[in-house]
């Protein structure tokens, strides 16, 4: 068992890729907002990359081990084991009674992931263990973790790894995120100047951001259309359609990057979509502090970057400990 002593602002149980197949019922997959740090943490302790683990916004948490095994912490923050600093990005040994903890991170990045060997063994709900916060689906009893929760831990596979420094993701305060243009961009929806502005401006990450979405600062686009006809009174509106995860929707003047628990559909234009290789960065954007610039890439480059991101997740590319 893993005992939650301090769940921080909103620690949750996640797995990857989460609940695939329910988009048509209005359920986004949930899963970690930063799937890269999450999967690395699992691989380090011998788990399948998608095994259930803990997502910790701000890094602030404390847990006590009631088992003997391995743990790995990937993401932001300066964690401690029984009060002494402990490295991230590598598997560490846990004995019964050990306390792992971390204060809210002062450095770059926004989320910390904790994986334990064997994974967190809560029941699957609708095919996954990941907590979908809006729907109250999965996790432990359909809610974020609270003090005193006891999380069952599964059976481990022996393996103990470390991520070489060169393969660790680098966190920033001013981010650059790769996007694919559209599905509703220029010249039909936005003007060419709007698109240029979108891909060159520094966008501020709004404090009001969570697992549903990351909002950016308001910006008055010129728009290529007068209105939206039947779809509404603002040119940012379209007849309701399904959204891709990582889609950047615009409601009036506010762009929002859709997160893993976000709305699956709606009546707003999706002006760009975060490339899957860059989705992890959205989980590390610090609300109220960081900025982000969007860089347009084509589909070929998106595929190449995805292969690059996946490279580090192959245990053969990691260092045994």
């Amino acid at each position: 068992m893993l005992e939650i002593i301090d769940p921080g602002p909103q620690a949750t149980i996640q797995d990857y890729p989460g609940r695939i197949g329910l988009a048509s019922r209005g359920v986004f997959p949930a899963g970690p907002v930063d799937d890269l740090a999450f999967r690395l943490a699992n691989v380090l302790v011998g788990n399948e990359p998608g095994a259930a683990a803990v997502e910790i916004p701000t890094g602030k948490f404390a847990v006590k081990a009631h088992f003997r095994g391995l743990a790995a912490l990937c993401g932001t923050g300066d964690p401690t084991l029984n009060g002494a600093p402990v490295p991230k990005w590598e598997a560490i040994e846990l004995a019964p009674g050990d306390v792992l903890a971390c204060a809210a991170s002062a450095g770059a990045g926004f989320r910390l992931y904790l994986a334990v060997s064997g994974g967190i063994d809560v029941p699957e709900v609708l095919g996954a263990r990941a907590l979908h916060t809006m729907g109250g689906i999965g996790g432990l009893d359909g809610r974020p973790l609270i003090r005193g929760d006891l999380l069952p831990v599964g059976t481990p596979t022996p393996r103990r790894l470390r991520v070489p420094q060169s393969l660790r993701p680098v966190y920033h305060r001013h981010w650059e995120v790769e996007v694919v243009r559209g599905p509703q961009a220029d010249p039909e929806f936005l003007t060419t100047a709007d698109w240029h502005e979108f891909t060159t401006a520094r966008w501020r990450v709004n404090l009001n951001s969570d697992r549903l979405g990351v909002s950016l600062n308001p910006h008055a686009f010129a728009w290529a259309r007068e209105g939206a006809g039947l779809a509404g009174d603002h040119p940012s509106n379209v007849l309701d359609a399904s959204y891709p995860p990582g889609g950047i929707i615009v409601n009036g003047d506010v762009p929002t990057i859709l997160g893993p628990d976000g709305p699956t559909s709606g009546g707003f234009t999706v002006i760009a979509t975060v490339a899957r290789a860059a989705l992890w960065k959205i989980g590390q954007l610090r609300p109220g502090q960081d900025t982000v610039r969007f860089r347009q890439i084509g589909l070929d480059e998106a595929d190449a970057l995805a292969a690059h991101t996946e490279f580090a997740l192959d245990p053969r590319h990691l260092e045994p400990r």
Partner: protein, 282 residues
């Protein structure tokens, strides 16, 4: 019918049918084409989710090429039967509604206090705004329009099991602008309108629709009522909703009975013949 494909990132493709018009025939086509897609999925297919006149396809770029996907979609499109010949699997679901209830009023007041006092929050409700926007004489005229038609579930989405519905009686004529900016909190069971669309909120969530009242739970992952025994989602694309007016006290009582599994939802199988609808609409 015209078909427009738009890349939506590097693993989704948005396929739009027809032009941007509020024509339910486009949606009947989508409901049928989506079924065709799941019966005969292209290589690399992961899942698909509909919109009013579109389908978003999630594919695995490692297992297919985008051109193979487009070819498959073109063939699927050409194979679709004439819309008028469709009989869509459908159910009639009757739900009680309490107009201008205290939960939705609370949501409006909270928005006005914490986000913005807008023309649509005057009087602490959205109903008067919808009435004024549509040139109706009074609230009763709005309620009659809502109660006097069946609402076609064009698709579910946004939140778990949320039905986006459109009037099946030749247009109700109702239409209303959405919130701008979005409301942070909407109570579970709230009924709202955005544009010509009516929706029921399955969980507490953000929302941008103007609220008119409240109904029963339509999503329950804990399956506290037998209607959720097989799936936690009450409504599915193709279902028709009808509302029956009740007082708020009665709604609260029924909501309690639902959770105690002592209320039977009114759900009837009733396949939907598109030809009949087109005949009526003509």
């Amino acid at each position: 019918m015209e078909q427009t494909c738009r890349p939506a990132g590097d693993r989704h493709l948005l396929v739009e049918y027809g032009t941007a018009e509020l024509n339910l025939s486009l949606n009947f086509f989508v409901v049928r084409a989506l079924a065709g897609l799941t019966e005969d999925p292209p290589p690399g297919f992961v899942e698909a989710a509909p919109g009013f006149r579109s389908i978003l396809i999630h594919y695995d770029p490692a297992r297919t090429t985008r051109s193979a996907l487009l070819d498959h979609l073109a063939a699927l499109h050409d194979r679709q039967p004439d819309i008028a010949s469709l009989v869509v699997p459908s159910r009639r679901i009757t739900l009680p509604i309490a107009f201008d209830d205290s939960a939705t009023r609370r949501a409006v007041e909270l928005y006005a206090a914490t986000i913005r006092a807008a023309p649509y929050t005057e009087g602490g409700n959205n109903i008067d705004y919808i009435v004024a926007q549509n040139g109706l004489p009074d609230r009763e005229a709005l309620y009659e329009r809502v109660l006097g038609t069946e609402w076609w579930t064009a698709f579910t989405g946004f939140a778990p099991g949320l039905p986006f519905t459109f009037s099946l009686r030749a247009p109700t004529g109702l239409s209303v602008p959405k919130y701008n900016p979005t409301r942070a909190w909407t109570p579970e069971g709230a009924v709202g309108m955005g544009g010509p669309c009516l929706a029921v909120f399955p969980v507490e969530s953000p929302g941008s629709y103007q609220l008119i009242g409240r109904t029963l739970p339509i999503f329950d992952v804990l399956a506290r009522n037998d209607v959720f025994a097989e799936t936690p989602f009450l409504a599915r694309a193709g279902d028709r909703l009808r509302f029956v007016r009740v007082e708020e006290g009665r709604l609260a009582e029924i909501r309690r009975l639902v959770l105690a599994n002592r209320y039977t939802y009114q759900v009837q199988d009733a396949p939907f013949a598109v030809a009949d609808y087109l005949g009526r609409a003509a």
